[in-house]
């Protein structure tokens, strides 16, 4: 909605990731692009295997050695992927940080939580132990954990508390971009709600741009302003949350919405028949075509281009907007 004139903070251009598994290649990400400005909150949704986690790991250069990454990731206009690990490293944590999927295990079991939160502060900011500990206390406070718990070990924290601690750790160096990969999965509903609220608050108070990845569309909708829907390694639609929830353009987005169980109505749960294409297959045409209820002949032949319609992006032959491709 905002036609902002501020320069993008983070720009992902045509990111592609292939994994070499000896017997072939897995095409996990097939050309993803989006733009993040300061204080933006972007959600990325899609089912398991659509490549959303791979995208954020690629953005931080954390993929395993058999991954081949193409495309660009521009931070403040500079491509941070271009120089390899050594050029990426200075940006880690202080510019871009991450809360991982399953943050329960993000902590080293034999070191105290406070120690691990302090670690990047002492490393990147060259802070003294006292200053770092003070900051740890502030961070824990911000996420709602008593500062006295900093000397405890991870196994002494509950799952929800560990998630908050992981968030505190991610904010330790004052990053400008926070990537949250499934931060609420494996937590019970009440704790989930607390975490979502926390994410929103933190983003507002600290002015951190947020990328929220999840398969849970309602959760994403609560926190973000824009949502990108991914399918089979591509972004099929990107739109403001309100529009996506009320008038999705892409058939897959519509199907995702329809698949959300609504206990308040008596409507049956509709799932999407079929399966996404295997990661090792080369897709011809639109990847969603086999499962699409509104499929056209062209869909099986030509891959839909990205069409920018002023508010968001849509990659579908059905889009009647005659806007220029991005």
């Amino acid at each position: 909605m905002t036609t902002s004139v501020t320069a993008p903070l983070l720009e992902v251009r045509d990111l592609g990731v292939d994994f070499d598994i000896g017997s072939g290649q897995l095409h996990a990400v097939r050309g993803v692009s989006f733009v993040l400005r300061a204080r933006d909150r972007l959600g990325i949704v899609g089912e398991s295997g659509c490549g959303k986690s791979t995208v954020v790991l690629a953005m931080m250069g954390l993929l395993p050695p058999n991954a081949e990454v193409s495309g660009q990731v521009l931070f403040n206009g500079v491509d941070i992927l271009a120089g390899g690990d050594s050029s990426m490293r200075p940006h880690r944590w202080c510019d871009i940080s991450m809360v991982f999927q399953g943050a329960m295990n993000a902590f080293n079991p034999v070191r105290t939580v406070g120690d691990q939160i302090a670690e990047p502060i002492r490393m990147h900011r060259k802070a003294s132990r006292r200053d770092a500990d003070k900051r740890v206390g502030e961070l824990l406070d911000m996420v709602g954990i008593p500062a006295s718990r900093a000397v405890r070990y991870p196994h002494e924290f509950s799952g929800g508390m560990r998630q908050r601690a992981a968030l505190a750790m991610a904010l330790a160096c004052g990053p400008k971009v926070l990537l949250a990969d499934e931060p609420t999965t494996a937590l019970d509903v009440i704790v989930q709600a607390e975490i979502l609220q926390l994410l929103r608050r933190v983003s507002d108070d600290l002015g951190v741009a947020l990328v929220f990845i999840s398969h849970d569309l309602p959760a994403v909708a609560q926190v973000t302003e824009r949502v990108a829907v991914m399918y089979a390694g591509r972004v099929v639609e990107e739109a403001p949350v309100s529009r996506l929830l009320t008038a999705p353009l892409h058939p897959y987005s519509a199907a995702l919405l329809a698949a959300i169980p609504r206990p308040e109505t008596a409507a049956a749960v509709c799932s999407i028949p079929g399966e996404p294409p295997g990661l090792d297959t080369t897709v011809i045409g639109c990847a969603f075509a086999p499962r699409c209820v509104s499929v056209l002949d062209n869909c099986r032949i030509t891959e839909p281009p990205n069409i920018f319609d002023g508010e968001g992006v849509i990659a579908c032959h059905l889009a009647t907007s005659a806007g220029l491709p991005r």
Partner: protein
């Protein structure tokens, strides 16, 4: 019974089992036990006196009780060869062996840890294969053969003493100083310890590599990398500590094989320690000494296991309930 107490009880029972095995072995020997004493010139009366001395004429259960009673009082019997109490025979050698054993174990640990870290850090590379095959090769080599090779190729080249524990030239020109003695002893200990270390490091390398690989696959390592830590920093502050935990257990489990290695090493290098005394006792069929050494070695291994158990409980924060910060 608390866990600590039950482990101590287990240790005691194990030593008891070893002692019982000793007892029955001695009594079960083919031929009369006394005939094994090579008592050719014995008159019947002397034979009977000897039988009496060793209590071999009493019924078995009574002998057993007497035996345990003696053990409890620290009496390991009399050496057949020298006539002196076994305990006296083995104390000196024991003190000689200890420094060499500790040095050898440390060398094995250092080599094993380095090998394990290198091969896991550079997994899948030529360095990994080379390191693994090397440690496997040393693991397969009989330690006595390694000793021979060391004698053959290394000893002369480096100029380190290759036999005994003390130079013959020491003390010729007067009372040697403490320092001279220390240096001399240490020089004599290097080659045997090196041999022991080389022969034993293989198992540590395997465990260390496996522990490191397990650790490196954990999510917190990914987190550490995301935080911007360099490779060596990740190794040092996160991977290493976790991987060392299984090593503690491994040291205890390997105590038996280290002890076996020490025996042959002392034979090869004529190092007058407890292994050498054992070899000597074998040659002379000095059973009381041999069994005394076996019992002593069992106690040593049992203690090592116990210590490792207790140490492990203390250093893994997930197990203990203390609050001491680590790292």
């Amino acid at each position: 019974m608390t866990p600590a107490l039950s482990r101590i009880w287990f240790a005691l029972v194990t030593v008891f089992v070893a002692a019982t095995i000793n007892f029955f072995l001695f009594r079960v020997m083919p031929g009369n036990a006394v005939s094994a004493l090579r008592c050719r010139a014995c008159t019947p009366q002397l034979r009977e006196a000897l039988l009496n001395r060793y209590g071999l004429d009493a019924p078995l259960p009574e002998q057993f009780v007497r035996y345990l009673d003696q053990l409890a009082r620290g009496d390991l019997g009399i050496s057949i060869a020298s006539g002196r109490p076994v305990w006296q025979e083995i104390t000196g050698p024991l003190l000689n062996t200890l420094p060499m054993l500790i040095a050898g174990t440390l060398i094995a640990l250092v080599l094993g840890v380095i090998s394990g870290v290198v091969s896991s850090w550079r997994r899948g590379t030529v360095l990994d294969s080379t390191t693994q095959w090397t440690s496997l090769a040393f693991y397969a080599m009989p330690t006595q053969w390694i000793g021979l090779l060391v004698l053959f190729y290394v000893a002369a080249a480096i100029g380190l003493p290759a036999a005994g524990i003390q130079s013959a030239s020491l003390g010729v020109l007067g009372e040697p100083s403490m320092w001279d003695l220390l240096v001399d002893r240490t020089a004599h200990l290097i080659l045997p310890a090196l041999t022991l270390g080389l022969g034993s490091y293989g198992q540590y390398a395997i465990i260390m590599r496996s522990a490191m690989l397990d650790t490196l696959g954990e999510d917190y390592i990914l987190t550490a990398r995301a935080k911007g830590l360099r490779d060596w920093e990740i190794l040092r502050y996160h991977a290493f500590g976790n991987a060392l935990l299984p090593m503690v257990t491994m040291v205890a489990l390997s105590a038996g094989s280290i002890v076996a290695g020490a025996i042959v090493v002392e034979d090869v290098f004529s190092y007058p320690g407890i292994g050498f005394a054992a070899v000597d006792a074998i040659g002379k069929r000095d059973y009381p000494v041999l069994q005394g050494i076996f019992l002593l070695l069992t106690v040593a291994v049992v203690v090592a296991n116990l210590v490792a158990d207790l140490v492990y409980v203390r250093i893994d924060p997930r197990i203990r309930s203390g609050r001491v910060a680590v790292g």
